[in-house]
């Protein structure tokens, strides 16, 4: 994806049009991750906007050497969402929470959003093993390191890597990517 690195370069030079393309590529994923942490759609929307404004303001800090652009956005999003969960506002609204994992969100989703293949994914996660659910939750949604996930799930460090690879492999087969 030569186009993508070009877009990122333009974004770093404060090219709004290039940023709009990147935004459209990633905003749904970012809001999904944020929503999974804050468990509130309105708040997730607000935080997602903040994440993209933040990313814009610190565009010069991104370096391809440190990781993928998407991964960089993921980190900003998780941090912003976790910051929110530590605020008073969140603690007051906490009792209204129902869903705990991305799986629950997916399973309870009534969305027929064609863009995101929700129906297919819903089907996918219901079939997914418990370990896969937990590993994906921790690594992609919560931003755990390999070691943290290994400790949390009581699975050997090396196993996390291969187990995750298998889970993502299933996902890719289902999605055809």
């Amino acid at each position: 994806m030569k186009d993508q690195s070009q877009l990122i370069l333009q974004f770093q030079q404060k090219d709004v049009k290039a940023y709009e393309k990147l935004y459209n590529l990633y905003c749904n994923s970012i809001s999904g991750v944020v929503n999974n942490i804050v468990k509130n759609d309105d708040v997730a929307q607000e935080i997602t906007q903040d994440v993209f404004i933040k990313a814009w303001n610190k565009a010069d800090t991104y370096s391809a050497k440190k990781g993928r652009f998407f991964t960089w956005l993921l980190n900003i999003a998780r941090n912003a969402a976790i910051d929110y969960t530590r605020s008073k506002k969140f603690k007051q609204s906490k009792q209204n929470l129902s869903a705990d994992f991305f799986v629950d969100i997916l399973e309870s989703s009534s969305s027929l959003d064609s863009e995101t293949n929700t129906i297919g994914l819903k089907e996918f996660v219901t079939k997914l093993g418990e370990t896969c659910k937990s590993v994906i939750e921790l690594l992609y949604f919560k931003g755990f390191t390999q070691k943290e996930a290994s400790e949390e799930l009581n699975i050997p460090l090396g196993t996390i890597k291969t187990r995750n690879r298998t889970c993502i492999g299933e996902l890719r087969t289902m999605l055809g990517v």
């Binding site: 709004v16 990633y26 997730a44 050497k65 998407f70 992609y140 890597k161 690879r165 993502i168």
Partner: protein, 263 residues
């Protein structure tokens, strides 16, 4: 590790998740740069994760328009102003530090210069004071001399040049009351090294010389007037050139000037 094993290790999945260390991230990045096959794999994984995470969002729609205005505002106004301000502050800070620093250095230098000037002025002042002091002393002694020379009880004795130095001359002013003579030796040549003038009081019949002393400070003395105590019943005065330290009796071959008291 070959490409297949590398992919199978599951490291690329963790790379997308952001679960690797900074060092591991750089290693994966380097590996991807070398092997385009890895990039294809990474992009596929990312695509899958993008869809999975996107499914966790609720119905809310996300329009770029919502943040576009905020970006523009921040880009054209807030960012530039804050940048300008920080730069301005920074520059002013550095400028102030520079000015302060150079002012300090300058003032230290100036202070040293002033101190030196003051020191040299002080020594100059001391020199002047000494000059004034010596001038007034000179004046006083000159006035005293004039007074002495004009005194009616002063006996003036001219001493004429003798064979060894016919052009030499000297004058003795003898104050019998104070038993002192004032010898004006301006008319004598500078004594050669290792020699001094010795002043003699003489009685003529029989010829008896009495040493009045040597003129050790002859060269250094500017007015060449020497005050010498003389309690003798002198009848004549003579000046001879003697070896340093003087002699017990005058070396007559080296008699420079001689003068008898006229009365």
């Amino acid at each position: 590790m070959n490409t297949k094993d590398y992919i199978a290790s599951g490291i690329l999945e963790l790379y997308i998740a952001g679960s690797l260390s900074e060092k591991e991230n750089e290693e994966v990045y380097a590996a991807i740069q070398e092997n385009p096959e890895l990039l294809v794999e990474v992009e596929s994984i990312e695509k899958a994760i993008l869809q999975l995470t996107a499914a966790a969002k609720k119905d809310a729609s996300y329009s770029f328009e919502n943040i576009k205005n905020k970006l523009k505002v921040e880009e054209t106004k807030v960012i530039s102003i804050t940048k300008l301000q920080t730069n301005w502050k920074q520059y002013v800070g550095w400028a102030a530090a520079f000015i302060l620093g150079s002012t300090l250095i300058l003032s230290v230098l100036q202070n040293n210069k002033l101190k030196e000037q003051l020191a040299s002025e002080n020594s100059e002042k001391e020199l002047l004071e000494a000059q004034i002091d010596s001038a007034s002393t000179n004046l006083a002694s000159a006035e005293k001399l004039i007074e002495i020379f004009r005194g009616k009880d002063i006996i003036s004795v001219p001493l004429g040049g003798q064979a060894v130095s016919p052009n030499s001359y000297a004058k003795v002013y003898w104050d019998k009351k104070t038993e002192s003579i004032y010898l004006d030796a301006k008319g004598l040549p500078e004594p050669p090294k290792g020699k001094v003038y010795q002043v003699w009081s003489l009685t003529l019949d029989p010829l008896t010389p009495t040493s009045l002393g040597t003129l050790d400070s002859f060269i250094a003395d500017t007015n060449k007037i020497f005050t010498i105590t003389n309690a003798n019943q002198s009848e004549a005065f003579g000046i001879t050139l003697e070896p340093e330290g003087g002699s017990l009796s005058p070396t007559l071959e080296q008699l420079y000037t001689l003068g008898a008291i006229s009365s």
